[in-house]
């Protein structure tokens, strides 16, 4: 295996993938295009969680909090105050960022499974607020009829293809940023923290600050996904924040392969696919999904991306 041929291969695959994504609206029926949008949004969401789990070793079970909070902020501002996307989107991001600052201060005191559970608890509190503060959030029924974003440049987002490109553009930029982050010195430091915090401290890294920073960054990307999701569904409900969603995105990451970014994106696509397409053919899709988890766990313990990586390694060494 030589580095250059490998990176060329990656580059080619990347270009091909991008090409497919660009022409998708030409080949897909509107419904499937909508599903593709959903997959992209969840891919973004899952990648954001991977920054925490795969790269920093902090498994969060409350990531939906940021997804949902920004969704509520954007949704409410768009619906009640009529803010356009240029204002509502940053406001949504600020919302999830602020929440992450606050929760990070609490959650970063813990590690491992405790971190898992404190993030869960904090997100469930947010869920409780969204569910219980009925005058603002509409309670369980949520906020319907959020308008699609209006860019103010005469492109209608009611059109499926336009909206698709809008999401694709944002997801592509976000992915690019995340890839840059994990391959930067900062990203390497995160891996070091995942492996040994005490050694990182001894080397002079401010471990807490790195963790705090990535916690907020991950929340911002999750928030971005949440914002896109409100615009996509045109409603927001407490369900966005519920632990079931946090668990789902966690599964996406593990299924795809933590620590690879692209893996969780695949994981997200696969789960969305199952939930939305397979379920039309069989009532037993939940069991089927269970078996998929089982098989992946046993035969690809490092997720789908891990499987591909191991396969490549094997080929290279033989």
């Amino acid at each position: 295996m030589t580095g250059t041929s490998y990176s060329r291969w990656i580059g080619l695959a990347f270009a091909a993938g991008l090409f497919v994504l660009l022409v998708l609206p030409k080949i897909l029926a509107p419904y499937y295009l909508g599903l593709a949008v959903k997959m992209m949004i969840f891919a973004l969401f899952a990648m954001s969680l991977d920054l925490l789990i795969g790269f920093t070793g902090m498994a969060s079970l409350g990531h939906a909090a940021y997804f949902g909070l920004s969704a509520y902020a954007t949704g409410l501002l768009a619906l009640k105050l009529g803010w356009n996307v240029w204002l509502a989107l940053p406001a949504g991001l600020i919302m999830s960022g602020l929440a992450a600052v606050l929760f990070g201060l609490l959650a970063l005191r813990t590690r491992g499974s405790y971190f898992l559970m404190i993030t869960l608890a904090l997100s469930q509190l947010m869920w409780g607020i969204a569910f219980g503060w009925r005058s603002l959030t509409g309670g369980d029924d949520g906020l319907p009829s959020v308008p699609r974003p209006d860019l103010g440049i005469g492109i209608s987002m009611a059109d499926g293809a336009n909206f698709y490109y809008f999401v694709l553009l944002i997801a592509a930029i976000a992915t690019f940023l995340m890839v840059r982050i994990v391959s930067s010195p900062f990203g390497y430091a995160l891996r070091g923290i995942r492996e040994s915090e005490t050694r990182m401290l001894a080397l002079g890294y401010n471990v807490w600050l790195y963790k705090f920073a990535i916690f907020i960054i991950a929340a911002l990307f999750a928030g971005l996904a949440g914002i896109l999701y409100v615009y996509y569904n045109r409603f927001v409900s407490p369900d966005y924040i519920h632990v079931a969603r946090s668990a789902e995105v966690l599964l996406m990451v593990i299924l795809g392969g933590a620590g690879t970014l692209i893996g969780p994106a695949f994981g997200a696509a696969l789960i969305v696919f199952f939930e939305n397409l397979i379920s039309a053919y069989t009532e037993r899709w939940v069991m089927l999904m269970g078996f998929v988890y089982l098989i992946v766990a046993l035969f690809a313990p490092n997720g789908i991306a891990g499987l591909i990586r191991d396969y490549r390694k094997k080929r290279a060494s033989s």
């Binding site: 509107p30 029924d141 039309a280 009532e283």
Partner: protein, 370 residues
Amino acid sequence: PQPAFSQDAIKIGVMFPLTGPLAGQGRPERDAIKLAFDEENNVIAGRKVELLYEDSAGRPDTGLTKIKALVERDKVHLLLSELVSSIGAAVAPYVHEQKMPWISTVALASLTRGQKSSYIFRFVPSSYQYTMAAAEAAKKMGWKKVYLIGWNAPPGHEALEGLKKVFGAENIVEAMFPNVGTSDYAPYVTKMDPTKADGVFAAMWGADSSRIVQQYVEYGLSKKMPLFGIASFTSEEVLGAMPPQAEGIYSAYTYCGSLDTPENKKFVQAYQAKYNALPGSYQYMGYMAAKMVIQALKDINGKAEDKQAFINALAKVQVNGPMGLASFDANRGMIGDFYTLKVEKGADGKLFNRCGDRQAQVKDPYEAFP
């Protein structure tokens, strides 16, 4: 007359929660819909009918995506779907925009208020409607001061609004709102003082209703203060999980399983023959909603493509079903008879709902709750 589109089938999208905690309501309701169409041999006005099933999994975003699948991918002519209110709220704007006729069994009051659309029909009493009916029935029994224990969710809170209207706010001794899925009701149950009220209203459903009854009985309260369930509180599918001491619990709803009419007997027998279980209120709603659709389709001679004609027909449909006459009001909410139900032990030792007083043709109280 020759049907115009005899070649291709009428496609009806049927989405319910088929997995997850709400499957207990979703699956039977879907089964009952199927039963109604089977009774027509899946042919209406000479045209084949095809039911396309989807699973909303009880989640609003999934539900919306599935509805889109039915509308955009499967090109259904109408939707006969859903019972979960949060999904209803999420789906309503979409179907309105798509001008897609949607007969829902979502008790969400806003479907016929804020989210009103000429395409949206609600074949189920709204939360205000069934609460008022229950409250009136209890008042007639002489209740003056009451407790309410209801889900900390829209229907629970709306139940309180309804009770206040009927009994007056000062006569609600206390309203408690446990979470959906509360495991232990002991803290609530022990707070209820039989000397302070004539009875307790309960607004919760599914596993929660059998659980609160279980614990209400366990603490000996059922002997001291009657329990009045709102809407389908004692529906047949949860009755099986209630203890023998649940005898004497009241409720008031549009379905009473033991009603002794030929229509109901036929329904019960048909359902039982097909699914080997007693139908409850969810089955009734599904079955009747399907009957309404079938009648409307017949009225327009199967031309499901003509959405306008269909909704016009549906708005006027009156069907005499298992529980008597049912129809839609001007806002496309359901009108039907309500019965006061009382849980009793049958000859076979099993609990069943005895049908008591009837409130004829109860309408959604739009005037009281605009």
